[in-house]
Symmetry: C2
Subunit: 238 residues, 2 copies
DNA sequence: CGGCCCATTGAGCCAGTTCAAAAAGGGTGG
DNA sequence: CCACCCTTTTTGAACTGGCTCAATGGGCCG
């Protein structure tokens, strides 16, 4: 709950009232082990999920088993805001690490939001940012080299995590395998390992067992063509 | 105007009232030559644009000149529905062929929509579909081979065009260069030419000067892993 | 007819892949 | 605390899809 509140506070003036509205929504807390499904392709979803901890992935499987991860969903992210329309999902969502979710009936959620223009605005921003993240993924995978892609993704994850924890720091604890990174970046896991080594040898990052330490953010950002403007969302009011 | 109405009719029961509401919105019709900008990165946009004819592209340029096209915008498409938030655009939009646009003040547009639940629903669907198209682009460019990517894109364009013209047919008139296709698919233009030749030699398509004729849709769809469910949006009401 | 833009073709190259094997963790049960 | 197993990461070697560079060909317009 903290995570999502931190995020929303970036977009609008969230106060005790809004906190109250959100936390009083009837919900269920559920845990999924790494690899377990959350939403299956074709399923009609009428829930909104908020990730409390762990990382989830949104992905598609091709006929021959190839997998493309569209994006990572981190603590404080919510989906599917589009579920109001009760349409069949065209992709899967599953837990990439152990994940704890808050599950809220879509109708309840939207009724609560509708009544509070401040919350509406904040979730409107959430949707805009989600789309910006998708666009960024297209650019990353379309025109960057392996080293650039990985560096760029590391910076995005760091930035997003720091928004929802509210703490700026230079590390990214990565609870998923290199295979996940590979399927997100359109590369092979072997090449992720090699690129990780290269970024490390060149002094951009330090690779630890729990994740990554960013050693030289500016140099990394420049090399990886990372510009975090797409994650910055000025606070405005209606 | 026909195009957008055709599209919206797929999502909700658009009638004379809605047509009236949309067409009475004060607007300007503008023409852009191929290559001219429509929205520049960093600019704050407070207009909603509807494409009347021609194709536009949404893209990003990297420091060294590499370009990634995020998606093509076809007649009947509208952008930026997100402009209500008055934030700086994180990408460019420009005309890929000669384009005729209808430009509407964002506030007017949203006020008109707000008052009509049927139109609200229809534009809500437009936004959902836009996001689905972005996700599809990620899968295409992330995990498909050149031949598959091109085939897949051809089918998407055909499908989208047939929704807005209201006429199902097996051709795609392509008003943009192979360079545009290359920058959309994350390939080189040379390789687009080769892949086009291959698709043609293998009997999937016929390449004409004005565009492409789809000769064997089913085989092409299977080969290119194309499943048009993401473009289908059941008609529902609130 | 000449110029320009775009598409096509050929040849060589390279980033990233595949396959395979070894090394490093990280539980779990005895 | 050790022994074992299973998953993940790392490394090596050979291969290949798509790239680059460069030349040729076609269409269209003035």
């Amino acid at each position: 709950m903290d995570m999502i509140i931190n995020r929303l506070s970036h977009y609008a003036d969230i106060g005790a009232t809004q906190f109250q509205t959100l936390s009083s929504l009837s919900h269920r807390i559920e845990t999924r082990q790494a690899g377990e499904d959350i939403v299956i392709e074709g399923e009609v979803v009428d829930y909104v999920f908020i990730i409390e901890s762990g990382w989830a992935i949104r992905y598609r499987l091709l006929d021959d088993g190839r997998r493309q991860i569209m994006n990572f969903m981190l603590p404080g992210d919510c989906f599917d805001l589009m579920s109001l329309t009760k349409s069949a999902s065209d992709h899967n969502v599953s837990a990439a690490s152990e994940v704890v979710l808050r599950r809220i009936k879509a109708t309840d959620f939207f009724n609560a939001i509708r009544g509070d223009s401040c919350l509406s605005l904040a979730f409107w921003w959430v949707a805009i940012q989600e789309e910006a993240i998708l666009r960024e993924q297209i650019v990353r995978n379309g025109r960057l080299s392996a080293k650039e892609r990985l560096g760029n993704l590391i910076l995005e994850l760091n930035r997003r995590l720091s928004i929802s924890t509210g703490r700026q720091d230079n590390s990214v604890a990565i609870p998923v395998t290199q295979n996940h990174l590979a399927d997100a970046l359109g590369l092979s896991s072997v090449h992720i390992s090699r690129s990780m080594g290269k970024l490390s040898r060149e002094g951009y990052i330090a690779v630890e067992s729990w994740g990554i330490q960013i050693l030289n953010r500016d140099a990394l950002a420049e090399m990886a063509e990372f510009d975090d403007r797409y994650l910055q969302t000025p606070k405005l009011s209606f």
